[in-house]
Amino acid sequence: MNTEILGIIAMFGVTLLLAIPLGKYIAKVYAGERTFLDPVFNPIERLFYKVSGINPDNEMNWKQHLVALLTINLLWFLMSMGILMNMGSLPLNPDGNPSQSADLAFNTTISFLVNCNLQHYSGETGISYLGQIWLMFLQFVTAGVGMAAAVVVFKAFREKSTTQLGNFYNYFLKSCTRILLPISLVLAAIFVFEGMPMTFDGKDTITNLQGDTVQVSRGPVAAFVPIKHVGTNGGGFFGANGAHPLENPSYLTNMVEMFGQFIIPMAMVFAFGFFIRRRKFAWMMYGVMTVGFLLLAIPNINMEMNGNPAITQMGIDNSLGAMEGKEIRLGAAASGFWSIVTTVISTGSINSMHDSSMPLSGMNELLAMMINAFYGGAGAGILNFLIFIILAVFISGLMVGRTPEFMGKKIEAREMKIAMIIALAHPFLILVGTALAAALPQYTSATLANPGFHGFSEMLYEYTSSAANNGSGFEGLGDNTVFWNISTGIVLLLGRFLPIIGPVAIAGLLAEKKFIPESAGTLKTDTSTFGLMVFAVIAIIAALAFFPALALGPIAEYFSLY
């Protein structure tokens, strides 16, 4: 078999195999059960709680959770603006990179705060090492916040009827210390030995073999890259992100980085199953997500490996695939695969330039973010998926002649209202944002790298990536302008916090309701039939809301190319 394909299968297989035990471990961590890392982290956490004046056993209801979550985010926002706008004159800046402008700092802050990491700057020139380390901090803690929010949902479905949903700080800190940090350390160990730089020295200047003088950017990359993936953040240290030979030096690091971003979203699904003691339900979720993922990934691998038909027509050997924007050491297959991995989950790191993907590959990348729930970001994926489940439960409940219920809780008007608002918010942010950009060519047309349908796709991609908190881009877009910085900043904010508030509220409301025991008439939600229903709901909602936009972008481009 083709070694490029084999590499993908191996990576996917290993991730799945390890996701199950990791899921079990995560469930134990959140349930407060004993784990092998207790001796290391118990004292550290105790110290943290003591100094911070937090009682981790002080349980909160869903509203208190949200208040705590939003408060700490506001704090980070202020700190981040301060650092990014002043880092030029702060230490750890060997290259003398400048501070960011207010609008760029706003966009950068928001985008790292919401676990998106849309980067309107380039790492080599737009930020100091202090700034990079601060962003690395945000990559840890925002992933921790997303996971903590998901655990509130876990907790809500674990108990039969309760308002007490655990302590936010406890879930947050444990996510960082016991899950994100250890995995990041393991990854970093592999990375440093594969040649990823870990230095505080600045740029090096060399004269190359042909005699040209060039510079080489370096930095504390090997500390930054693990959490960028493990926390499904995706913010690149360098401008080229995972395509950069120092940020992703070998096929091995590529596999490890894919594994790193994939493992927690997958493990969270299993953790959910272990935590609420419904493993079959987790398998249903995992099945739906995997089918959806493969339906997007396989065509992409295929299309990228087949290459650009316009280039094939030129009569050259196109057997390597669509190599524009791709790296030889990674190959077209692993790049096509990564392009979907990074978009279904909200990483947004790239190892090839999505702008140069085949038109329908680009569409699949867009669809992956429009759905944003096939595995999804660390924590956020499950929250998004919950909304689709609520909608599917409602419709299928009716179809079997019973008032819809999920996990023994009746789904009523209030939950439907919230679910519908969240489901609406996503297309609203994407379509209205893109419409605005299309309607204001004075701000946007000069920023597009490509004409016609693809130019439209670039704008659509930018807002889709923002709303999905993904962070990848059709990077040809010259997005460091006030218009893009502010408009995507707003979309990012809403795209992050609405899908946290909504599902947490739904889970909180459901948790308060009376538990209804299952009977033969209850629609089981852990079956493949229900999985099919969820899948249909996801497919139809995404297809229906975005079809016209996709028709004018990638689909029109596709028909014009083939």
């Binding site: 084999l6 690395m136 803690v141 870990m198 060039v214 080229a240 050491r329 059709f474 481009e557």
Partner: protein
């Protein structure tokens, strides 16, 4: 909200200690055991050091060419062309690269040119080319350098990096290493 502010600040400060100071220091510590102490893998040749993973521009006919780059292999920055597959201007550019290649490589059929030689990489710093991309340049280099094609093909074979564990990923050649070896061949 008020009662959450103080714990949030304290927790943030402690987290910064753990995640921004302790964690990078541990990684930095590990890097001290890595090649070149974590300052990037290097190759030394004729007293000069090069970064093994960072591609270099090779445009002279006596060297194996590297891939087109959107940043001219200046690793002060990085990035791809971001050209869409359907972009007419871009397709003309590719056509021009093919034409240029054919001019510099007489006797090569168009169908032998692998796509990586006429498309820009994602980083603009791609250190590798495909095996076919090296082979297709043999005729030209053999002629300029006066080396037998067979020797060059052997060199390519020696410098071909197999897939990971022989199983995963593509075959590739590091252009810098290949060209250094080429220089050493004389």
């Amino acid at each position: 909200m008020k009662k959450h502010i103080l714990p949030a600040i304290k927790l943030t400060v402690l987290s910064i200690l753990l995640l921004c100071i302790a964690y990078p220091l541990i990684v930095w510590g590990m890097a001290q055991f890595a090649p070149n102490k974590g300052k990037g893998k290097i190759i030394t040749h004729n007293g000069k050091t090069y970064y093994a993973n960072v591609g270099q521009s090779f445009t002279e006919d006596k060297y194996f060419w590297s891939r087109p780059s959107a940043v001219d292999y200046n690793a002060a920055g990085s990035g791809g062309s971001n050209k869409a597959a359907s972009n007419k201007e871009y397709l003309q550019q590719v056509q021009a690269r093919i034409d240029t290649f054919l001019v510099h490589n007489p006797g090569i059929a168009k169908s032998e040119i692998p796509v990586d030689l006429v498309t820009a990489s994602g980083s603009g710093l791609d250190p590798n080319i495909s095996v076919q991309a090296a082979k297709v340049q043999v005729k030209r280099i053999a002629k300029i350098r006066g080396i037998a094609e067979g020797n060059l093909l052997q060199l390519i074979l020696a410098k071909t990096e197999k897939p990971l564990f022989g199983l995963f990923g593509p075959e590739k050649i590091n252009v810098l290493e290949l060209n250094i070896a080429l220089d050493n061949l004389k």
